[in-house]
Every structure is written in structure tokens, then in C-alpha cells.
């Protein structure tokens, strides 16, 4: 099945539009930010925090909680928008994004903000940490707790990820779910032009993962794929076909909106107008 046309066509519901306004508003206030990488993962994050993860925003250290690590830390704006929406902190705090002494940096930090399980930003780290946590949970016989880690497709060029894939299989981590944000775009442009990584699902399968492909903007497909029962079979890999900048016409599939260090008020208005 060709998922990209489906991901392109997937309509955004009112809640998705609200989340996009939050992301753009926070970036607009800061005058900077990774907007495109945040918009491609909004549906995945929303499904995780609204329907899939065992967690409690009022008890961020809940003993029985599932763990989520955003390995592509530059998607922080998306994570902040979702965490605020489900009640980890006040929505108004999004306006402090990247400001001096804010808890909301350009990349998420665990000791700053409730709901952040691990600091990320340097790419290729999250999977190794997730493997360690997954082994630890099994070692503690907390077998029902699950570990989710979301990595970018461009991030797959980091060699350490392939080390960790081998180890996830070695340890038979049936409590681990790896999600690939496959938006086919990185900072410089189309993935294949920067570094071709063909057949990602086949590669993950050959590394020993149970692999599924989904339309990463379809709420139904995401929920169905991510809500797995631990203890069965192999580590799980979900290749989520997404669109960088999804839901904002001028930002969709545009490397220009991967990251901007200066965003004008006019551009913010334009982005908001282009939400569909």
C-alpha cells in the first residue's frame, strides 16, 4: 500500500487544528522553532497521550506508567502542545517557549518539565535509553509497562540506532515500541537526496522487529497500531508515514519550515491562515 498519498489527503479534525495553533503560537512568540517536525508527529503524540499510554498528568511519576521518549527532540513543540493539552502544565506556559529561564526549551529536558521522561536533542540517543529502560522494567518484573520511543527518519542515519536495534532484539524486548516518523524530509531536503535509506520496514523486520506501516495522521490507524499488549513476541516497530508540516498548507513537505531561527509576525499570521 502506498501510504504517502493517504497521509497527504488525511483531513485534520478540529482538535488537530487547535494543536497546530498551539505549536505555531508558541513558535511565533519565540520567533523561532522547529515547526515542520512538530506538525508531522502531532497525531501520533495526541493518540499516545489521549488513548494509548498509561499515565497521569497529575502524577507524572506514577509507578505503573508507560514511558515515552521523544528521541527526535527537535519535535519538542509538538510534545509541549500535547502535554499542555492533556494537563501536564498550563497552556499559557507555551508562550514561554525558548525564553530565558523557561521550562520549555528548543529540545525537551526531563528535569524542567513534568511529563518529559528523558532529555533529548542530540540525535540517535533515544532508542538505546529506551532499550535500557525496557530491560530494567522486565528485570523488575513490571511486565505490563510499555516503553515507546519516537525517532525521525533522518535520524536513522545515526549509527548508534542500528547498534540499539540489534540489542532490542537480543533482549527480546516485547515491551518496546519503536515509532519512526517517516516524513521523508530532513533539514536539507528530501531524505533520499541527503542519504538514501530504502526499505525501512524491511530493514526493521530483518533486524527482528514486528513491523507495521501506518498512515501517521490517521487517528484510527495510530491507535490500533500503538496500543499493543506487552509480553507477546518481538519488539514492535511502527513506520508511520507522515507529512512534514502536515495541516498547514505552506509548510507541508517544505524543508524551509524544518527549522527557523527567525519567524516574523507576518509569517505566523500566514501559517495560521494556512491551517486547514
Amino acid at each position: 500500500m502506498d501510504y504517502r498519498p493517504k497521509a497527504f489527503k488525511e483531513p485534520i479534525d478540529p482538535q488537530g487544528r487547535e494543536l497546530r495553533k498551539l505549536v505555531i503560537g508558541a513558535a511565533g512568540n519565540a520567533g523561532r522553532g522547529h515547526i515542520g517536525p512538530a506538525l508531522s508527529i502531532l497525531e501520533i503524540l495526541r493518540c499516545l497521550y489521549e488513548s494509548v499510554l498509561v499515565h497521569d498528568p497529575k502524577l507524572p511519576n506514577l509507578e505503573s506508567r508507560d514511558i515515552f521518549i521523544l528521541s527526535k527532540g527537535h519535535g519538542a513543540l509538538g510534545l509541549y502542545a500535547v502535554l499542555a493539552s492533556v494537563g501536564y502544565f498550563d497552556l499559557a506556559e507555551l508562550d514561554t517557549f525558548c525564553k530565558f529561564e523557561s521550562r520549555l526549551g528548543g529540545h525537551p529536558e526531563w528535569h524542567n518539565l513534568p511529563g518529559i521522561e528523558f532529555s533529548t536533542g542530540s540525535l540517535g540517543h533515544g532508542l538505546a535509553v529506551a532499550v535500557g529502560i525496557a530491560v530494567a522494567l522486565l528485570n523488575k518484573q513490571q511486565n505490563s509497562r510499555r516503553v515507546y520511543v519516537l525517532i525521525g527518519d533522518g535520524e536513522l542515519a545515526e549509527g548508534a540506532i542500528w547498534e540499539s536495534l540489534l540489542h532490542a532484539t537480543k533482549h527480546k524486548l516485547n515491551n518496546l515500541c519503536l515509532i519512526i516518523d517517516f516524513n521523508n524530509m530532513q533539514a536539507n531536503g528530501i531524505l533520499d537526496k541527503v542519504l538514501e535509506i530504502k526499505n525501512i520496514p524491511q530493514k526493521l523486520t530483518s533486524f527482528g522487529f514486528e513491523t507495521f506501516e501506518i498512515n501517521g495522521h490517521s487517528i484510527n490507524e495510530i491507535k490500533s497500531a500503538l496500543d499493543f499488549e506487552p509480553g507477546k513476541g518481538k519488539p514492535l516497530a511502527i513506520v508511520a508515514h507522515t507529512i512534514k508540516g502536515k495541516g498547514v498548507r505552506i509548510a507541508e513537505n517544505s524543508p524551509e519550515w524544518h527549522h527557523k531561527a527567525k519567524i516574523s509576525k507576518e509569517e505566523v499570521e500566514l501559517l495560521l491562515e494556512n491551517i486547514y
Binding site: 532508542l127 538505546a128 535509553v129 548508534a160 540499539s164
Partner: protein, 303 residues
């Protein structure tokens, strides 16, 4: 020293199920008894140091205390980003056991000789850096670190060193160790296995009580103000370290002396050179080449 460290980890693990040992494809026979007795606390992983450091951070985040061992450079150089971001930034209790400190692996060349490990590790916030002088001191440090929160880097010597750590007295801090007469006009400050050489130098000058030895098994000096009391006012204070001159013990001491407005003109160092060392040979060949001998240090002291 390595054997003492690994056996100490094994013994700690027997009474504390949170203690974990992780190796990176270590030599055949490493801790085989531990592997049999405590399979859930023993991990022999592939040659994948970056993964292993992140993996250890994940375990530590969930309450475990991982001790990880491989050749020092393969942590301090190859996995430096993981050490900083995954471990130190989170102040997690991951304990790095670095084999082959200094010129131990001289025959294997500059990929293996750990001549800049102090510099890398001392630059990492939250990291405690240790360089014990013998197996007893190694055991003590490994045990102490099992109950201290936060990461540490512990450098191994070659092994088989004579036990000397019991001969020292502590000076206001358990990590400032003194041997000899404090009234001596000169002092040698040392860390790791070079403390054996420092003692030889002191003994060669003993009749005139000209020199005493300060051994520093821990290299983080920020709060150890008492160290400077023993340096200040000496005729000569010589810092010897099996490390390049930049970023190690000498640099640290200089930095802190400067901050305390103490005269540093009496201070000098004997160290490895500030360049890659490509000459192979063995550790002693390099001690001889770079002035780490009794004769060269006595001469430097002007005795």
C-alpha cells in the same frame, strides 16, 4: 586492579540486586561466575559503546546502578556524547570502569592509549573522576561509588601493583592522601599508578627530609581547598601524571591556585607530551622517555 574492580562489583551485586555489570565484548572468561550466579545482573553486550552508555543510562533511570567496563578510550572518546547527554545531564549513577589508563596499551598504539581521558571526563559536569594507585584503593572506590548518586569514571592501571594505599594518611579529606613529612620543603603530587614512582623519589631523598608525597585518587578538586595548603609556600611542587599536560591534574591545580591568588611559580609538571604518541614499546619505555623516572624527577626538583 581490573580484577579487583570487577570482583568488587560481583560482590556488591550479590547483596544488592540493583547493581548491574555491563561489558562490551570483554575477554573470554570475564566474570563467568557472576554470569552463572546472577544472570539478570550481568550483561555482555556487543562492540557498541554508544549504545551501551545509553542502555546503562536507561537502566540507571529505573533505579539500577550499572558498572560498565571496556577500554577507557572507547568510552571517553567514542561515546562522549552519550556520557554527557544520557548520563551526566541526568546525573545518573552509571559507573565507567576504564581499562588501560595512560600508556598501559602502549604496544597497541594511539587508538588505545588513554592519554586524554582525564581531560574529557573532568570537563563533564556531575562526573567524579578517579585514578587509584592499587587494588585496595580501587576496591574502596568501587564500593564508595555504589552508594553515591551520580556518574563516575574510574581509571584502571596495568594491574599487579604493590599495595601502597594503606601507607598513606588522609589530610582533611578522604581523597587527599599524604605520605612523608609535611615539613619537607618540596612536594610531589600524583595520581594513579605514578604514585608508586612518587614514593620512590621521596625515598631517594629521605635522609634530608626534602620531599613528601600527596596522592590524589580523585581528580575533582573544586571543593578540596585543603589541597592548596600543602602546596603553598613549598620550594618546589611537582605534579606528575600519566596524561597529556592539558586538561588533567596539572591544569586543574593551576586553575584553582590561580583562583585563590596563590603563587604558582613553584609549580611544575611531569606528564606525557601534548601530541599523539606513536612509538609503541611498553608503559615503562614511555615513563623513561618522558621523564617519569626517579632520576629525572630528582633532577627537576634540584636536589
Amino acid at each position: 586492579m581490573r580484577k579487583a574492580a570487577l570482583n568488587t562489583v560481583y560482590n556488591l551485586a550479590r547483596s544488592n540486586s540493583k547493581i548491574i555489570f555491563i561489558g562490551s565484548d570483554l575477554g573470554h572468561g570475564t566474570l563467568v561466575e557472576m554470569q552463572k550466579e546472577l544472570p539478570n545482573q550481568f550483561f555482555m553486550e556487543g562492540i557498541s559503546e554508544q549504545h551501551i552508555v545509553g542502555f546503562a543510562a536507561g537502566l540507571a533511570k529505573e533505579g539500577f546502578i550499572p558498572y560498565i567496563n571496556t577500554i577507557a578510550n572507547f568510552f571517553t572518546r567514542r561515546a562522549l556524547d552519550q556520557i554527557i547527554v544520557d548520563v551526566a545531564l541526568h546525573n545518573l549513577p552509571v559507573k565507567f570502569l576504564g581499562s588501560g589508563g595512560g600508556m598501559v596499551y602502549a604496544p597497541l598504539g594511539p587508538t588505545h592509549t588513554a592519554t586524554d581521558d582525564f581531560a574529557h571526563m573532568l570537563a563533564v559536569p556531575n562526573m567524579n573522576v578517579f585514578s587509584p594507585c592499587d587494588a585496595n584503593e580501587m576496591e574502596m572506590i568501587v564500593i564508595d561509588e555504589s552508594v553515591r548518586s551520580g556518574p563516575s569514571y574510574i581509571r584502571f592501571g596495568k594491574g599487579g601493583e604493590k599495595i601502597i594505599s594503606n601507607d598513606f594518611n588522609t589530610y582533611k579529606s578522604s581523597y587527599i592522601k599524604i605520605l612523608g613529612d609535611l615539613n619537607s620543603e618540596n612536594v610531589i603530587i600524583s595520581t594513579g599508578v605514578l604514585t608508586h614512582l612518587a614514593i620512590e623519589v621521596m625515598k631517594s631523598m629521605e635522609t634530608s627530609l626534602k620531599c613528601f608525597v600527596v596522592h590524589l585518587p580523585k581528580l575533582n578538586l573544586l571543593k578540596e581547598t585543603s589541597l592548596y595548603e600543602v602546596i603553598e609556600g613549598r620550594k618546589k611542587a611537582i605534579i606528575i601524571e600519566e596524561h597529556q599536560p592539558i586538561g588533567g591534574l596539572f591544569t586543574q591545580v593551576l586553575h584553582h591556585l590561580q583562583g585563590k591568588n596563590i603563587d604558582t611559580r613553584n609549580l611544575s609538571t611531569v606528564s606525557l607530551p601534548d601530541r599523539f604518541i606513536r612509538n609503541y614499546g611498553n608503559q615503562n619505555d614511555h615513563f623513561n622517555k618522558w621523564g617519569m623516572t626517579v632520576g629525572a624527577i630528582v633532577e627537576k626538583m634540584g636536589a
